[in-house]
Amino acid sequence: MKPVFMTYTKKDLINLAVCMVLSVLIIPTFIKTEYWYTSILIPWLCLALATIGQQIVMGYTGQLALGAAGFMAAGAFAMFNLILRVPDLGFVGSLIVSGLIAAAFGILFGLPSLKVRGIYLMVATLASQFFIIWMIDKFGWFKNYDSSGIITAQDIVILGKPFTTPLAMYFVCLAVTTILTLLAMNMARGSTGRNWMAVRDMDIAAESMGVSLLRTKVQAFAISAFYCGVAGALFAFCYLKSLEPVAFDIKLSFKILFMCILGGLGTINGAFIGAAFILLFPVLLNAIGNNVFHGAIDATIISSIEQVIFGLLMIIFMIYEPLGMAKLWENLKQSIRSKLSSSGIKGIKSPVLKK
């Protein structure tokens, strides 16, 4: 096995440096409105992290799963209980352990993937979605016997320092997302990721070449659920600031599925692009509704239109570019590059992957 952190190229490091300068220096100096942090940047980071989880199991391993929100709920409520009952663990420790608890659920509900695939697996993973939400809802212990149904999340305290302002929470999310994204890229490019992709492209062939299906699939489900669990904990503690099972219903699972597919299956940057699109598009539509039509269009109609457009985009992408927006971005870069180097060979396109 390759040593860790060997899979990054020089280009990656430059990209990382650019992203870091942008997110650590430029965004905090230029964006002062709280709205941007509390309603856009923080949920974007959390949902992008959950989408990476979905990518691992769906984009890289090719297993059609539809239960990301269930694992997010497991992570969020594990976090709440760990901080409540095991305060010594600290915020970071609790975050890791709640991810591990979500991963345990991931392993349990990922087991059917050994027997079935496609739509069959989707139904099996739906069981996790409904079961986890039901379990949290029905057993008072998970909610610390709170009868109101909505629990306020505890304040984030790391090494004795409170992280309660939007900016501080943004940095918490940013740090966790950055570390986990780098790890995911590393896994995806290393032997782990190659096994995942071998299973995705042809599981029988992969098995006959010595890739253990059991290990690979269970591993993918566990890691995916870990990412979703951590994302769910951050989502509840930094964005919602409250815990309620309803926030993690099947609609959120579908949303993450859309982020994953529209962003681009089997890409890490697609997770960020997809999450940004699904989050920002409704904001844009609302802005158009308010400024162009001056509120003449009802808010419910706008949200219906939003749904229609997401659905249409899904169909259009499936027909014309099944690899999503990440691929469009790649194509754009390619065409600019080939225009710039006019002396180079023209007309070479990147190989189109057809799944």
Binding site: F130, Q307, G311
Partner: protein, 302 residues
């Protein structure tokens, strides 16, 4: 003792009849799967879309019942036509998973359109059949069974017999089966693929409308119907994706098992296990009999 048995019977019969409602939704899935090996995830959205349109015609435009039904059915034919033209034909050679994803998108489009056109509030649908126990059965058999359940059971039975006869004995049915078996070969011997697909999608649309009317009369016409329709998925896994009798039996099993579990085991866990019990049941089926009770064995070639 006799009372307990009677109570059990009541739970069982109620569950079985409620199960026929799942069967009605599952039937639409099976029709499309049989003819095109496409898994239509938007069937639930079609249920919602069609019955909301039906309600809209009846309540907003005061169109009489029968005419509204015909209009809604016609609308579903148009939806089927558009789907065939704009979604399925371009995806002719795409993988199953890609088509499945596209139908998820289609479901979103239909849900959005329905709500944009007819609003988001819950509508009441009165079919003139009450959701209360039939007095005659209550008096004579001491069973409390809802009239709506019985109607749903009857409607399901009629549709199944009709579809079964259509598939088995008509030329269209033969064409359908040929297309399902091998679309390429079927079209090369002159079976009009386009018409067959249009027919199947229209039939699935009408089935969705009927299912929606039954559900709507019980639970109100609202967005939650889409989630209810998701329960047709475990029904299909149990019955098999390509079998019409499978959809029925699967629905009956799900309906009965979920009611019995809810009544007898549910109280120990604080109830509402109906929400996930069908899916867990489906997982067990997947582990032991992935093709379902009546499905064709899944063979994958390397």
């Amino acid at each position: 003792m006799a009372n307990e048995l009677l109570f059990f019977m009541e739970v069982l019969v109620g569950g079985l009849l409620a199960g026929t409602m799942y069967s009605l939704v599952a039937l639409g899935f099976v029709l499309i799967f049989k003819a095109s090996a496409t898994f239509n995830f938007s069937q639930g959205a079609m249920v919602f879309f069609s019955v909301l349109a039906f309600c809209g015609f009846m309540q907003d435009f005061n169109i009489p019942f029968v005419l509204a039904f015909i209009l809604a059915a016609f609308l579903m034919v148009v939806v089927g036509l558009c789907t065939e033209r704009l979604v399925l034909r371009p995806l002719m050679n795409a993988s199953e998973d890609t088509v499945l994803m596209a139908t998820i998108g289609l479901g979103y489009v239909l849900e959005g359109l329905a709500q944009a056109a007819w609003g988001v509030e819950v509508r009441r649908l009165d079919l003139g059949i009450g959701d209360f126990p039939v007095p005659w059965i209550a008096d004579n058999l001491k069973l409390f069974i809802s009239a709506l359940d019985i109607t749903a059971g009857l409607v399901a039975a009629i549709m199944i017999i009709g579809l079964f006869l259509l598939f088995k004995y008509t030329k269209i049915g033969l064409g359908l089966r040929a297309v399902a078996d091998d679309a390429g070969a079927a079209s090369s011997i002159g079976i009009p693929l386009k018409h067959i697909m249009l027919l199947v999608w229209s039939a699935a649309g009408v089935v969705a409308l009927v299912a929606g009317m039954m559900w709507g009369a019980r639970a109100g016409v609202q967005f939650a119907l889409v989630d209810l329709a998701l329960k047709a998925l475990p029904v299909l896994i149990i019955g098999g994706f390509s079998s019409i009798p499978g959809a029925i039996i699967g629905g009956l099993i799900i309906g009965a098992v979920e009611k019995i579990l809810e009544v007898y085991i549910g109280p120990f866990f604080g109830g509402a296990i109906e929400g996930w019990a069908p899916y867990v049941l489906a997982i067990f089926f997947l582990l032991y009999r992935p093709e379902g009770l009546f499905g064709e064995k899944i063979i994958r070639r390397v």
